[in-house]
Point group: D2
Chain length 342, copies 4
């Protein structure tokens, strides 16, 4: 299959890891899940998620599958933030910028309080700058959670010490701590630390699978079982309790029972490096995960597109290139050289 | 694959069509959708849905995929019913009984007004009995839509004339008209009419695929394009815009481009008849689709379960048997005879 | 003023206590609150509410004013019931029947689970009949609170022992316990018990003032201070934090610092008895508070209206008469005799 | 009464017009409304609102009373903006900054898109800068309304031509147009134009009364009757349909049937000018309505407070002074001179 996929995937496509093909191991796992089993999440595969992810993180976890990262993020936050509250996130966080108002829907009008920070990473200081001035002011919605993205929207990774510091602030202020890990595998692969260290003292992690070779399964990993008990009801209520959940559980298990998730992430990260290394003077952000942001004039972008490369503009004078698990490494190198040659 | 599926599916399982396996044609279509394409619903398969379903219904339609029937129902209704309004449905409608409060979530607290009717089918009279007494009363939420289930929660089918009558009332009162078609294929197969006749003058149909051999794709078929334009945003906002939508579109196209959807429904309906025919004096409702409700004492149910049959209790003195596309016809006959022999 | 009011109020009006005039003591208190003070609830009168109501109930309370009973009920419940949950109430409770969908709005789509009970009073048994069958079923919204009305929608009063029994069930199941006391004063006046006994082990009471001679102030009395801390934010968020709250606090203090609230309630209850006593064989419910429900044929109602009496129909064959603090006792007697003479 | 009020109101209080006393004409009107009438908004005073405000604006209007400006703003917007949409307003608009998340509640999670502009006034250009880049992007909530504040949060007034330009943009893009007129009277008094010119082509105006001498009544003036029909239900649903609405209608009628509303606004504006004229070099914004923003170091503010003046800090290096209808003109002059003397 992967060879036929290679034929079908334009090798010069760096638009988004969102559109990559499904990894063969996941196809196999889904097919093996066919046949009868209990509906919803009563099947044997869904039942194994807690144990298998518990081994990944070295602690007790409760795991719920959902179809999308937006659902994962918003359901996790909905168990932390009441409708009259707020979550603090970076000004350019995915939940603020790209989820079509889903946080407003899932949190019933709770607000996102926007903090600053380099590389789309917030800090204890930038969070305090947002929440201290409104503390206990009844005319202002109060924070109930902090949400960060690991790796961040600019492909930057929070170091374990940075996570500990944010977690300490969250604990001090009684805030929940959520990690959007749409590209968590890429962060772990970059940080070369344990998954537990890469998520820090979070209560919930949106564990990405779709961008990393999945079809339509993401895991919400709860490090606080009470939150999972709430989200179980909210998942049903939002129409995300699929009746044949075994096909989602199968994808997740195939990802993390072997090393597929980290192998895929390493491949994507390496392809991103291959792009970046040739034209590093154009980088807007250090490349740590699988995204590359480069300053490129409109005419330069046109030149690249004329050569067959696909990517998104990033504002007026820049471009974003995203490598996937199935990106062609040679094509990535070619792209890097083409940029260097501009 | 179907043979291995047959081995894995307990042939005596009549719990729910929700847990049936995925039809081989859909597996093939999903695999063929692998490889690169545009993310979300920008792919070539999603683009073909309007045309293909337009042929099924003989009119212009706008089609959006989602993962579950609950999402399909609630998204469709959310485009018809404002938060301060209400939808009228049967007292035992799925949206009232089994969706974990999803209508409250998607309709932002709008109310369901519950109408009566035999076989879980409402009538113009039963709808009027609910909405006339509160008309224009500012202390009462006002109806903005009618929602019916085709086939109904008791496996009964609305005749085309009944749909016309309900549609006429809806039009007269300025109400939207939604059809929950989780088992729409079973209704069409029973009614032996055209799909257009089986949906009547509805503005939106939740077209079921999962219960009929799909994995995790349902179609919302809009006969009013403006509603689809609203739901496009609401689908994203509810986390149901999957990034690899081509795998959902593939399932839906494989269902309706051939006769898979009707073949599967006919097989399920036939298996239900096979159960019913042997013990018809126990039937609580005429069997029209793929569900069989029978009066069975606790001891009788115990006897059947001891013989290996699986099914749900239906209150204290009855049981529900549901046949699927992949039900074993012989097992259905055996079940019918076992009931007759009680 | 009261004499001029008497002239203006049609003495034969028994439509609703909702439309009665404002008691002179409250006018005086509002006028005395004029002049400068801190905005919102920072004024000296609002600050005194906790203490004064604490004396009424003989325990620590936190009190928030709002303008309407609907806001009081729904805000109180919103601190007990998450959006994915439900509150249990009587099938004919005001929150279900007459608040225009406000619970759906304030509870963000949470559901009302409807229990049975004579005289619009629920019982531990009728509550269990609703909540036991759905316990821990993820497809069903779960109860998080019980809400009762004291006096009930049919003018019936919960006895202290009945409140204790409901409170015990609520505690056992981890449910909040809310009392809609739009006519709480009438209940206390009837029961001749202490206010604390009349509210039982509730966490929150909507303490009615408007129906009892107020202009536009109701008190939410919290027996659990944490709920008040939540509602403080939700009151602002719902536009119910008035900027000149001292005029609401003034009304509430004038009610309960003297015996105005109980004097008014006794007067209204006595007028209701005056209606009832003459024609007791027509009563649909024992008259305990200030409402009288009587079986009256359409022609009989027409006769009464021709004599100048104003009241609401109650279905096809009955009528509701409501007495107010300022009802004319003689007119009430005349009405009772007129009914007896039919 | 006004003399006693003068005694009670600290003459050197410039904290907020929110805390001013109630104008005598409104007290008289409320007392005259006592006695019996129909409940809710069925009374004779509420019925006169449309006609009386219609005369003020020289066109057909539908008017609904509510208790607070937050409710007025959010209810009006809720009829224009669906839950999946957005309203555009200034980054420092009251609805964004000071309403405790009420727009999120009333608009069911719809978003506020924040536009720039000097003096808290937005322009067609600043609105376009926000809405053009996201046009028809399903990942972004789409605008459905524009909301401005007249006079603005910095006491600036939109000129009729500016309103026309914004209205034209709104019309072109199919957006509703709402005016938050918490200090609309102050704007009309400053602009010396007709009320109709001061509101421009808006569909709805939150007409402020509380800050201008009212107790607890604001009017939502609808220039589009269909919006009023929606808000009638939403007002009930939000607990803002008071049962004795005649006391709110009385306040509004007393305001606008005579010249009370403009007289009060002129007095407040004049007091603000009296502050500003003496120390104009410190002004952060031209003074057009009744608010004065001045650059004042912490030590300077301390000096003023030591002299008995009350006001709010405005960030680290400035202060806000607000004059009311009942501000003491001499005290305002004294304040201005005290600032000049710093």
């Amino acid at each position: 299959m992967s060879s036929s996929t290679a034929r079908e995937t334009p090798p010069m496509r760096f638009l988004s890891d969102n559109a990559a093909s499904v990894h063969p191991a996941l196809w196999d796992a889904m097919r093996a899940a066919d046949g009868g089993d209990a509906p919803y999440d009563g099947d044997r595969l869904s039942h194994r998620l807690d144990e298998v992810f518990g081994q990944v993180f070295g602690q007790d976890v409760a795991v719920l599958w959902v179809a999308t990262g937006t659902a994962a993020n918003c359901l996790a936050l909905s168990a932390m933030v009441p409708p009259h509250g707020a979550a603090v996130c970076h000004r350019e966080a995915h939940i603020e910028m790209d989820e079509g108002g889903a946080p407003g829907f899932y949190l019933h009008g709770a607000k996102l309080l926007l903090a600053e920070g380099e590389g789309a990473k917030i800090t204890p200081e930038s969070v305090r700058a947002v929440i201290d001035p409104i503390r206990d002011d009844v005319h202002q919605v109060q924070p109930h959670a902090v949400s960060i993205t690991q790796a961040s929207e600019y492909g930057r990774c929070y170091l374990p010490a940075e996570l500990e510091a944010l977690g300490a602030l969250a604990k001090e202020r009684g805030l929940g701590f959520h990690v959007d890990g749409a590209r968590f595998a890429n962060a772990v692969a970059h940080l070369r630390c344990s998954p537990a260290e890469a998520v820090g003292p979070a209560q919930a992690l949106s564990f990405g699978c779709v961008k990393n070779g999945g079809m339509n399964a993401e895991a919400i990993v709860f490090f606080d079982a009470e939150l999972a008990d709430v989200v179980r009801y909210r998942r049903k209520r939002s129409g995300h309790l699929q009746s044949k959940g075994r096909y989602l559980a199968a994808q997740l298990l195939a990802m993390v029972e072997g090393d597929v998730w980290l192998d895929n992430a390493r491949a994507a990260n390496a392809a991103a490096q291959a792009i970046a290394v040739e034209a590093s003077e154009r980088l807007m952000h250090p490349v740590e995960a699988n995204e590359v942001f480069m300053r490129l004039e409109p005419a330069e972008r046109e030149t690249l597109r004329a050569q067959g490369f696909e990517f998104y503009d990033w504002g007026a004078d820049a471009a974003r290139f995203v490598a996937s698990w199935d990106s062609d490494h040679g094509a990535a190198q070619t792209l890097g050289r083409a940029i260097a040659a501009l």
